[in-house]
Every structure is written in structure tokens, then in C-alpha cells.
């Protein structure tokens, strides 16, 4: 029976000791411990959040980079295409110009050749004329050397002259 009979003295000591232990522990142990645990948990979750955010940002940046690269590629392709077109155009124009120039040159050449030809023909004509005169002169000289011939000729000429 004594086992289940509370003892007043022990109860007083127990209440006193436990109150002191409770008070001291709450003030000097549990408060700092619980605060430290909470702070630590907070800092851990903060760090995890920060890491997550950094990761997301990194992904975003990477995505942006990809986009930029893609844009740059398109730009490059465009530039190359344009450059090709310009090149082709230039070549085409040059070809065209060359053609025109060539035909001009040819035309000029043809003209000058014609001119030269005409000049040469004229020269030849003149030469032939003078030569013909010379020949005629010489022939006349020969034919009109003696008087009989001169007379004959004059007669002939006079005969031919029709006095009509």
C-alpha cells in the first residue's frame, strides 16, 4: 500500500526541483536550442531556394544564349545570302557592261575599218586617175610625136565633130 501512497515531502522536493530544472532549461537551454534549430532550418531552406533560383536563372540564361545563337545564325545566313546576291548582281552587271563595251568597241572598229577602206578606195581612185592621165599623156605624146599623126588625129577629131 505504501507504494501507491504519495509522500508530501517528496512531492514538495519534486515540485521544487522540477520547477527549477524547467525554468533553467527553458531559459538557458531550450530557447537557444530551438532558436538555433529554427535558424538553421531557415538558412537551409533559404539556401535551397537560392540554389533553385540560381538554377532557374542559369537555365533562363542558357535558353537566352541559345536564342541569341539561333538569331545570330539566321543573321549570318541572311548576310551570306545577301552577299551572294550582291556578288551575283555585280558579276551580272559587270558582264553586261563588258558586253556593251565590247559591242561599242567592235562597232567603232568596224566604223574605222569602213573609213579606212573608203579612204583607201579614194586613194586608189585618185591614183588610178592620175595614172590614167599619165598613161593617156604618154600615149598622146607618142601618137602626136610626128606631124602626120598629129594631122590625122586632128582630122579624125574634126571628122568626128559633127557640126550640126
Amino acid at each position: 500500500m505504501e507504494l501507491i501512497k504519495p509522500d508530501l515531502g517528496l512531492l514538495i522536493w519534486m515540485l521544487l526541483s522540477f520547477s527549477i530544472v524547467l525554468f533553467v532549461l527553458i531559459k538557458f537551454a531550450w530557447k537557444p536550442i530551438l532558436k538555433a534549430l529554427k535558424d538553421r532550418e531557415k538558412s537551409i531552406s533559404h539556401s535551397l531556394m537560392a540554389a533553385k533560383r540560381a538554377k532557374e536563372e542559369m537555365a533562363k540564361i542558357e535558353f537566352g544564349n541559345e536564342k541569341i545563337t539561333a538569331l545570330a545564325k539566321i543573321e549570318r545566313d541572311n548576310l551570306l545570302k545577301e552577299a551572294k546576291e550582291i556578288k551575283n548582281k555585280i558579276i551580272e552587271e559587270a558582264k553586261e557592261d563588258a558586253k556593251i563595251e565590247a559591242s561599242k568597241i567592235i562597232e567603232k572598229a568596224v566604223q574605222s575599218v569602213e573609213q579606212e577602206k573608203n579612204l583607201a578606195i579614194n586613194e586608189i581612185k585618185n591614183q588610178i586617175a592620175s595614172l590614167s592621165i599619165d598613161i593617156a599623156e604618154n600615149i598622146l605624146k607618142q601618137k602626136l610625136g610626128d606631124q602626120s599623126n598629129q594631122k590625122e588625129l586632128i582630122d579624125d577629131l574634126v571628122k568626128n565633130i559633127d557640126l550640126n
Binding site: E2, L3, I4, K5, P6, D7, L8, G9, L10, L11, I12, W13, M14, L15, S17, F18, I20, V21, L22, V24, L25, I26, F28, A29, W30, K31, P32, I33, L34, A36, L37, D39, R40, S43
Partner: protein
């Protein structure tokens, strides 16, 4: 802190060595059923008294028996009697039925094993107001001091090593602290109010756990049956009861006196439900008190019972005693391991039930 403890233990040892001589000069009387194997043959072994002497509180702390002499730590006796006022003396003065200053330890009657005041003829006069530092009081003080030492030191490492993982003793106790905070307090009380109660829950959890474990250690400073003492469990339950009552909010009291969802005729002419609820308020801490006390005491009784088997059989025939002892020791070890489990479970149960009561007290409206 360690130095202080060392000094205390040295002082205790000195007192002990002085008092031991007092004991050594006296022969143990027939009323000492303590387990001394040397003169067991002559003495009738009584397992009942053997067991209850181990479970009960005592005025001195019995350490061991050497060659028939009991070696105990004498403890201060503080009594206040109506006739002679306040008296303080060492418990060794009252050893073996001696009377000192009209005080003696009663051998029988209602106040058996308690200090009583006697007259000139040795007749019972009165039971004085007794606030002696008994074995259990000393054990409570020592375990309290140990708790303060441990937790203040780890609190220091928490503040010193801010935001760093725990180390040493800190990492041993942190899982338990987190267990009490998250699984007991937060789960039972709720996110909103648990922080207010967590320090108390931590204190009772570690107080019960430490004393349960110390109770399993047969050597000083263990061996005192603190949590298996109804007075101690009563004090603990009283704390839970007081905190529940003080922090109880409007809803808590409304649930008791005007329980919602109950027909009015159960409340109005005769307040049946409020009465039952009010009884429940008292019963809750009462059950806490009984459960812890009964579990721990029962465990100790069983362990000691197995142990007594050795002496019971040894009394019949010494050879039989030797034969039984390995079996008995095996059972004792098994029970001790089970007790280790019970030590945790009971600390947990007391704490979680307290937390549930706090949860009821601080619950918001439905």
C-alpha cells in the same frame, strides 16, 4: 561545471567513508532483508521485502553489502515536529532501528519505513512534517543537475556553431529534440501553438527518459526508482494539468461546460455531460500519473523477481541456486533490455499525451 560535480562526488565519498565506520561497528539486525549472500543461509530470504525495498524510497542510499555490512550513503533528514520544532541530522543516526532525538524509522504500522516521533518508551506519538532529502529526492536533484549540465552545454554549442551541422553530444540529442518538437509537439498541438509548449514537453520527455534509464542502472547514481514513484509521476502529471488548465482557451472551457453537439436536456436541469467532462479533466492527468508509475514499477518488480529466484532456490539448496542463476540472469537481461525499450516508450507516451491535452486546450474553434 564538471569540476563542481567532481567536488560533490568527492565530498559524498568522504561523508560515506566516515559514516561507513558507524555501520561497520553495528551488526545488521534481523530486519535487514537486503541481499547479502554471505549470511543468506541463516536469514530467511523474503522476495517481497527484497523487491519492495528496492522500489521504495529510502532515507539512505544503499550502495552494496560487503561481508554482511551495508554500505550506504547517509542522507540528510529534515523533519519538523510540533513538539521539538525543526531537526536536521544524518540518516545514519537512525540506522537499524535506532532512535535519535525522539525520531525513529517505524518498523511497522501505517507509517512503516517512515520517520515517526516516539516518546520516552518508544511509543508512537506523531508523524512529523518530513522534508528529508531521501534517495529519490537526491536522485531527482542529480538527474536535474545532469540535465542542466547536458542541455546548457549543448545549447552553448548550438549558439557557438551557428548554422553548422551538429557535433558530438549535440548530434546524439538533436534527433530526440527534433522528434519531440516535430513528431510530438507539432503533430499533436498544431503549427500555430506548438512553440509555446515545446520547452515543457522537451523537459518532461528528457526528465522521464533520463530517470527511466538511470533507474535501470544498478549502481549509484542510478538505481533510484524515480519515475516508478507515484509521488514523482504525480508531480509531473500536476505540471501537465496546471499548464493545460492555465493555457486552456475559450473553446476548451466551452467544450467542457457547454459541449456542442449534445442535446440540451443532457446539460440543463442536471449537468450530466459537463460533469463527465469535468471528471475527464481530472482523470487525464491521473491516468498519466498511474501509467508511468505502473509501467516503470512493474518492470522493476519483474526484473527483481527474476533475480530473487536465485536466492529462493539458493535458500533451498545452494547447488540449485547455482543451477537456476544462469537462467535467471538470462531472464533478467532480457527484461532489462525490454525495460530499455519501455524507458523510451513511456517517456514518449507521457509526452505525447501531455501534448495532446495541450492541443485540446489551445484548439481553435471548430
Amino acid at each position: 561545471m564538471y569540476k563542481i560535480l567532481l567536488n560533490i562526488s568527492i565530498a559524498l565519498f568522504l561523508i560515506l567513508s566516515i559514516q561507513e565506520n558507524n555501520f561497520a561497528s553495528e551488526n545488521p539486525t534481523e530486519k535487514d532483508p537486503e541481499h547479502s549472500e554471505t549470511h543468506k543461509e541463516k536469514e530467511k530470504f523474503n522476495p517481497g521485502t527484497f523487491i519492495f525495498d528496492h522500489i521504495k524510497d529510502a532515507y539512505s542510499w544503499h550502495l552494496f553489502t560487503y561481508k554482511g555490512h551495508h554500505v550506504s550513503i547517509p542522507l540528510p533528514i529534515i523533519v519538523y515536529s510540533k513538539t521539538s520544532g525543526l531537526s536536521m541530522f544524518w540518516s545514519s543516526k537512525l540506522g537499524h532501528g535506532h532512535t535519535y532525538k525522539d525520531f525513529k524509522i517505524a518498523l511497522e504500522g501505517d507509517n512503516k519505513d517512515k520517520i515517526v516521533e516516539v516518546d520516552y518508551h518508544g511509543e508512537f506519538v506523531d508523524r512529523p512534517f518530513d522534508i528529508s532529502i531521501t534517495k529519490n529526492v537526491l536522485a531527482i536533484m542529480l538527474s536535474g543537475a545532469l540535465m542542466m549540465l547536458i542541455f546548457i552545454s549543448i545549447a552553448k554549442s548550438y549558439t557557438r556553431r551557428e548554422n553548422l551541422p551538429p557535433k558530438g553530444l549535440q548530434s546524439l540529442l538533436e534527433p530526440l529534440i527534433l522528434f519531440v518538437r516535430d513528431d510530438i509537439a507539432k503533430n499533436s498541438i498544431g503549427e500555430k501553438h506548438y512553440e509555446k509548449y515545446t520547452p515543457f514537453l522537451l523537459t518532461i520527455f528528457f526528465f522521464i527518459l533520463l530517470n527511466n534509464l538511470l533507474g535501470l542502472v544498478p549502481l549509484f547514481p542510478g538505481g533510484a526508482n524515480v519515475t516508478g514513484n507515484i509521488t514523482v509521476t504525480m508531480a509531473l502529471a500536476l505540471f501537465t494539468f496546471i499548464i493545460t488548465t492555465i493555457t486552456g482557451n475559450k473553446n476548451y472551457w466551452k467544450d467542457i461546460f457547454n459541449t456542442p453537439g449534445v442535446p440540451w436536456w443532457l446539460k440543463l436541469p442536471i449537468p450530466l455531460i459537463p460533469f463527465i467532462e469535468l471528471v475527464g479533466v481530472i482523470i487525464k492527468p491521473f491516468v498519466l500519473m498511474i501509467r508511468l508509475f505502473a509501467n516503470i514499477s512493474a518492470g522493476h518488480i519483474i526484473v527483481l523477481g527474476f533475480f530473487s529466484l536465485i536466492f529462493i532456490f539458493g535458500n533451498m539448496d545452494p547447488i540449485l541456486g547455482y543451477v537456476v542463476s544462469p537462467v535467471s540472469i538470462a531472464f533478467t537481461i532480457f527484461m532489462s533490455i525490454l525495460e530499455l525499450l519501455v524507458a523510451f516508450i513511456q517517456a514518449y507516451v507521457f509526452t505525447i499525451l501531455s501534448a495532446i491535452y495541450f492541443g485540446m486546450a489551445s484548439e481553435e474553434g471548430h
